[in-house]
């Protein structure tokens, strides 16, 4: 294999969890709910998937359980933000902090460990399914957003919830569905980390990927294909850092910060303007 192919393959692997989480974030944010909780959702999914796989021996069961966990945690975020009009960023932050703690605590009770699950045998790891799924989800997401009634409603409530409301769309229900979906996708991203890319859950193993996914989402202007490209870029930077380490003269830290610097540059508007869904972050108060 040529070095470039290795690099590209590695970039795709690194991009996969980012892409899954970012697509999750896309659903939530296009519906108008900021989802800074992606990190926590990924951790919830990663831990649950690894634990259930360990007990059941089936990565598919593990994945399903991980998704369920992600949806459950997303439900907390959704209810807090939609029903109780909580500040979306604060609620997301709370969930992130919470899920730094919960898996570690549970790993202590379940596996006498501080923050790790037992290793899952190689034959019980997810095959490349999550990678395929992640990249397959890009056109699917595009289709859902642009070619289904649900997508239409989702975009409408994220841009102008009042207009959607007058057209007879139940804003709270659409938003909640979107947030739950984001929980499911972020959790798949987490599960890929724990039972796909590696074979166990390790403490804080997302290492900020939820935030990077968010950055990719903004970088990609909240659109599926652009978001995928942003994830690939970030994944490529990560892959490059891995390959270059110890080989090149460039300190690895400099390669690592490239995506972050890029994101800031994008936000500063140097590369076209990135317009957020107009109602993003604004709780919708039904009039009745």
């Amino acid at each position: 294999m040529s070095i470039l192919l290795i690099l590209l393959a590695s970039a795709v692997r690194q991009a996969t969890p980012l892409l899954l989480a970012a697509l999750g974030g896309l659903y939530s944010e296009r519906s108008g709910v900021i989802n800074i909780a992606l990190e926590g959702l990924m951790l919830a999914g990663a831990f649950t998937a690894a634990s259930v796989t360990h007990y059941s021996g089936s990565p598919w069961l593990g994945l399903a359980a991980g998704i369920a966990a992600g949806v459950l945690v997303a439900l907390v975020h959704g209810v807090a933000c939609i029903r109780f009009k909580a500040d979306q960023v604060v609620s997301g932050t709370a969930i992130n902090i919470l899920f730094l703690g919960v898996p570690a605590l549970l790993s202590g009770a379940l596996f006498q460990s501080t923050g790790a699950t037992p290793q899952v045998p190689q034959e019980q790891l997810l095959p490349i399914a999550p990678i395929v799924l992640a990249f397959l989800l890009v056109p699917v997401t595009w289709y859902v957003l642009n070619r289904t009634p649900f997508g239409l409603r989702l975009r409408a409530v994220g841009e102008n919830p009042e207009a959607a409301d007058t057209a007879g769309v139940n804003v709270a229900r659409v938003r909640l569905a979107a947030v739950l979906l984001s929980g499911a996708l972020a959790a798949i991203g987490g599960a890929y980390l724990s039972i796909g890319q590696s074979s166990l859950f390790a403490r804080n193993m997302t290492a900020g990927r939820g935030f990077i996914a968010l950055a990719a989402l903004i970088f990609g202007k909240w659109r599926p294909v652009q978001t995928m490209l942003a994830c690939l870029l970030f994944g490529f930077a990560e892959a490059l850092a891995i390959q270059m380490e110890g080989v090149s003269q460039v300190p690895v830290q400099f390669i690592q910060i490239v995506p972050y610097v890029l994101t800031i540059i994008v936000l500063a508007g140097f590369i076209g303007h990135s317009r957020a869904p107009r109602a993003l972050g604004v709780p919708y108060q039904e009039k009745r």
Binding site: A80, F84, A86, L100, G101, L105, I264, L267
Partner: protein, 351 residues
């Protein structure tokens, strides 16, 4: 009286979190009673318990204040972590490079460095927000990653003692040290790292209080946070306030360096912060973005950090992650205040 009422809600959130925590303890198979006895006992024992609780509370007061000041201007500074990292490195750098300077000059210079570096690091997202409308939550998160990577790079490639297995800089000059409380107050052993950064933190609270509520700049910052349209009407340049508030916020976060670098480790130490910047968000929320509340919340969280360590070590199953769970639940309850207040309308913050 109204002060007591202010306290009521955070207390309820804390109580609720402890109740949830008790369930978690039960679920992992330990006794909540013993766990909480160990937690509280170790946090309040004399002198180590109290000493460490105050020591852990110190950086939280700084970051809590930092988050609170930004919040008062309507900004969520998630970047306190990066600001304190970069400030800690810069402070150590001055302490190393100017090690020969006399203490009366070097210590203030180091503190100034902490303030300026932290302030600068936060001013960048401030300018991006004021000038381009870039959301500060995202930019500060990005700045966090950059700060940690930069500090790590300089430490690894330029300031690490040769052959040291640990990623840390060479020590700062003795003249840059800030005295430990134990060296000044009899009865407190000097091994307890509580140092003059603690009274500095209390002084910072007082100054922030005076700044926010007794000066024009403070007033303008708060007016901008409370209602930007009305602030503009009143002739307040809101963009300037955003930059000012972020800079001040970053400067306060930077002061963590005084506690960690000048008063405790006497060097920059990679990953020295146990998430102080993020805990600062919880501290500010729980303390209702008020300096007095920040002190109280910091003491609580400082006690949780100290107690969490003992719970971690000396119980069978419970780890110190219990503290994260408690923090997360507290913030969640504070965030969904409406949960307790019925379905009241909340002030809507637009992005």
């Amino acid at each position: 009286m109204s002060f007591l009422r202010q306290l009521l809600f955070p207390l309820a959130a804390v109580a609720a979190a402890f109740a949830v925590g008790a369930l978690v303890v039960l679920a992992v198979g330990d006794s909540p009673l013993n766990t909480y006895a160990l937690l509280i006992g170790s946090a309040l024992s004399w002198p180590d318990g109290i000493g460490y609780t105050l020591f852990y509370a110190t950086p939280l007061i700084f970051t809590g204040l930092a988050v609170a000041v930004a919040f008062r201007c309507g900004l969520l500074n998630i970047g306190a972590e990066g600001q304190l990292y970069i400030a800690a490195f810069a402070t150590a750098w001055v302490g190393i490079v100017l090690a020969g300077w006399p203490a009366w000059l070097l210590v203030p210079l180091c503190i100034l460095t902490a303030l300026l570096t932290g302030g600068f690091w936060a001013a960048v997202p401030g300018v991006l927000k004021a000038r381009f409308g870039a959301h500060e939550v995202i930019t500060t998160i990005m700045m966090n990653f950059i700060a940690v990577a930069l500090a790590s790079y300089f430490t690894q490639y330029h300031y690490k003692p040769p052959g040291d297995p640990i990623l840390q800089t060479v020590p700062i000059g003795e003249n840059a040290h800030v005295a430990r409380i134990g060296a000044l107050v009899p009865g407190i052993p000097e091994r307890i790292p509580l140092n003059l950064a603690f009274p500095l933190a209390l002084a910072a609270c007082l100054l922030v209080y005076l700044f926010l509520w007794r000066t024009r700049w403070g007033y303008q910052i708060r007016a901008t946070g409370a209602n930007p349209a009305a602030a503009l009407y009143g002739g307040i340049a809101t963009g300037k306030q955003i930059v000012l508030a972020m800079s001040l916020s970053g400067a306060l976060a930077g002061l963590v360096a005084v506690n960690e670098v000048l008063g405790y480790r006497y060097r920059y130490y990679d990953s020295f912060s146990a998430g102080y910047g993020f805990t600062g968000i919880a501290v500010a929320l729980l303390g209702r973005n008020h300096p007095v509340g920040v002190i109280l919340a910091s003491l609580l969280f400082g006690a949780l950090l100290r107690g969490g360590l003992f719970v971690d070590i000396f119980t069978e199953h419970v780890s110190k992650d219990l503290v994260m769970v408690l923090q997360g639940v507290i913030i969640l309850f504070v965030a969904a205040e409406a949960l307790f207040r019925g379905r009241g309308e909340k002030r809507v913050k637009s992005v």
